[in-house]
């Protein structure tokens, strides 16, 4: 059976759910060890050890790993990967930043955004903003390096009897010419866009930052996360981390409600794994209606408050 090394994503305290999703993909490929690169991250390693499918957790705890700097993490991963057949990471901005750097150090191609494992060397992945699916095979005896498209895999449970956690040292020259300065997280108390069961999103049709409050209010009523189209982010209505689509987040909630979003292909690729898609748009010809399970043509400024009220009772 193949051996798989799965790179854990975390924020220093909590394991990101992208790891549990990528684990589902990893388990389809072989026996999985999870590697946690961090500084003072015993808690994260412990959480990783409880992930269903984790055989072992490798914990590389050193000050240089306090922040996810690709140039620092890649040589460590390249060194650790030598013992494994497969190196996998979630296809989040974290995984996308680091993994190609590792692949280049190892001189092997990378499969980005694995959406399906066909066999141990063959995978499906989306191209052209998800308008085409391609099947690719890793040639010869190349090591397999890939990122798992998060929305394509359900998270594994995180409650198994803990696997062994091994603190390890990695021999690697770590560069110092990248300095991590800070993270400005918009965060807040709302559910996380990528793991929420419900998402309410707004587009250019919302018209202003102030009007976006209507979206937030409905989202709060539904216990939903809030997302946006690129046009809404570009216009400054909401921060970049709310963008859904080809160049934003790929999400798969049970319920997605879009207000004032036209449904450009670059947006739709981010939501096509949603359970139920609801579109509210004043233009009955908007392309989003082609993919929507439920469509309502009308003025969102009338519909949003009515819907909020209807759900309140």
């Amino acid at each position: 059976m193949a051996t798989v090394l799965l790179l854990a994503e975390h924020d220093g305290e909590t394991l990101n759910v992208s790891t549990a999703r990528a684990m589902r993909c990893a388990m389809a490929l072989g026996e999985v060890d999870v590697v946690v690169l961090g500084a003072g991250t015993d808690g994260v390693a412990e959480q990783a050890s409880r992930l269903e499918g984790a055989r072992r957790v490798l914990h590389v705890d050193r000050p240089e790993n306090a922040h996810p700097v690709a140039a620092v993490m890649a040589p460590q991963l390249a060194s650790l990967a030598s013992e494994y057949d497969v190196l996998l990471a979630p296809s989040s901005t974290f995984g996308r930043d680091i993994l190609p750097r590792v692949a280049a150090l190892l001189g092997v191609p990378q499969i980005s955004d694995i959406m399906e494992v066909i066999d141990e060397r063959t995978f499906k992945r989306p191209i052209y903003a998800g308008n085409v699916i391609t099947t690719v095979r890793v040639p010869g005896d190349c090591k397999i390096i890939g990122t798992a498209r998060i929305a394509s895999f359900a998270a594994v449970a995180g409650a198994q009897a803990p696997a062994a956690v091994e603190s390890i040292q990695v021999e690697a020259d770590l560069p110092t010419d990248t300095v991590w300065i800070g993270l400005e997280a918009s965060g807040g108390d709302r559910p996380d866009l990528q793991s929420a069961n419900r998402v309410v999103a707004g587009g250019r049709g919302i018209g202003s930052k102030e009007n976006f409050d209507l979206i937030f209010r409905l989202a709060d009523r539904l216990g939903a996360a809030v997302g946006a189209s690129r046009a809404a982010v570009d216009a400054g209505y909401v921060p970049n981390d709310m963008q859904i689509g080809q160049t934003g987040k790929i999400i798969a909630p049970d319920l997605y409600i879009a207000f004032g979003i036209s449904g450009a292909i670059q947006h739709m690729t981010g939501i096509k794994d949603a359970g139920v898609i609801v579109a509210i748009n004043k233009d009955g010809e908007a392309p989003i209606f082609e993919a929507a399970d439920i469509g309502l043509v009308g003025d969102l400024f009338q519909i949003l408050p009515e819907l909020e009220k209807a759900l309140g009772d």
Binding site: F94, P109, V136, D177, T178, E184, D241
Partner: protein, 248 residues
């Protein structure tokens, strides 16, 4: 300082991409081709750095067929100083592209390499990171802001959690996101002027890279289509439909 910008010729983002009948490729004949939108932003960023007096030459390079000269000409019309085409009709995947760009880096010795964060055809999002690894230099990926002074570059990165700031020493590789800038429009006189700017064509196979393994392509298919849904005509009907689906 020289700035090297990598661009790619891709199917224009407004085109609805079709798969050919054999399922072996997408239809490219008679289809509008453009500079990958992310790369256009990289060109614009490089030009602004030069216009701010922080670089003296902007070189654009691409790997692709002879027709990719069109995209290089567009970048020259935007204001790049000269262009290099590494010509090949073969499919060049990210690792091979990064190795080829590394050859240009060795030759040109740029202080900065700018690339789009991904190409909208293969959506791989790899070349910049791979080039940075080959070169053993810092990378700042998915950037939406940059500030250059005293050989240090501060970059704002669009990450899933928000906006991250890193500082890298030069030389470095940057991959750009869409919100970094808005590329300028090319004017007619610029297009004329661009015809006289130097464009060098080098056979890809002559640059002497160690050709890495590439992924084997087993075919293309359309994604599963979502079946059409229902239209409702009121908020009450919407709530009823949501209840029907069991999502409330």
């Amino acid at each position: 300082m020289k700035v090297l910008v990598g661009i790619k010729r891709v199917i224009d983002y407004n085109v609805r991409v079709q798969i050919n009948r054999e399922g072996t490729d997408v239809v490219k004949e008679g289809v509008k081709m453009s500079i990958n939108p992310f790369d256009e932003i990289a060109v614009e960023a490089a030009l602004r750095i030069r216009e701010a007096g922080q670089a003296d030459e902007v070189i654009v390079a691409t790997i692709g067929p002879g027709a990719a000269q069109q995209q290089l000409r567009t970048a020259l019309a935007m204001g790049a100083d000269r262009a290099i085409l590494l010509e090949t009709d073969r499919e060049i995947q990210p690792l091979a592209a990064a190795r080829a760009l590394m050859k240009l880096v060795e030759k040109e010795q740029p202080g900065l390499v700018l690339l789009g964060k991904q190409a909208i055809d293969d959506d791989a999002n790899q070349v910049g990171q791979m080039l940075a690894a080959q070169w053993d230099r810092p990378q700042a990926t998915f950037i939406s802001g940059l500030d250059l002074s005293d050989g240090k570059l501060k970059a704002v990165r669009e990450v899933d959690a928000g906006l991250e700031t890193v500082e890298v020493s030069l030389p470095a590789v940057l991959t750009v996101d869409l919100r970094l800038n808005e590329p300028r429009f090319v004017k007619m006189p610029d297009i004329m002027k661009a015809k006289r700017k130097p464009l060098e064509t080098i056979a890809f196979d002559s640059i002497g890279i160690d050709m890495p393994p590439q992924l084997e392509n087993l075919g293309y298919e359309a994604p599963p289509k979502r079946s059409g849904g229902v239209r409702v005509d009121s908020v009450e009907a919407l709530v009823a439909a949501l209840n029907d689906k069991g999502v409330l």
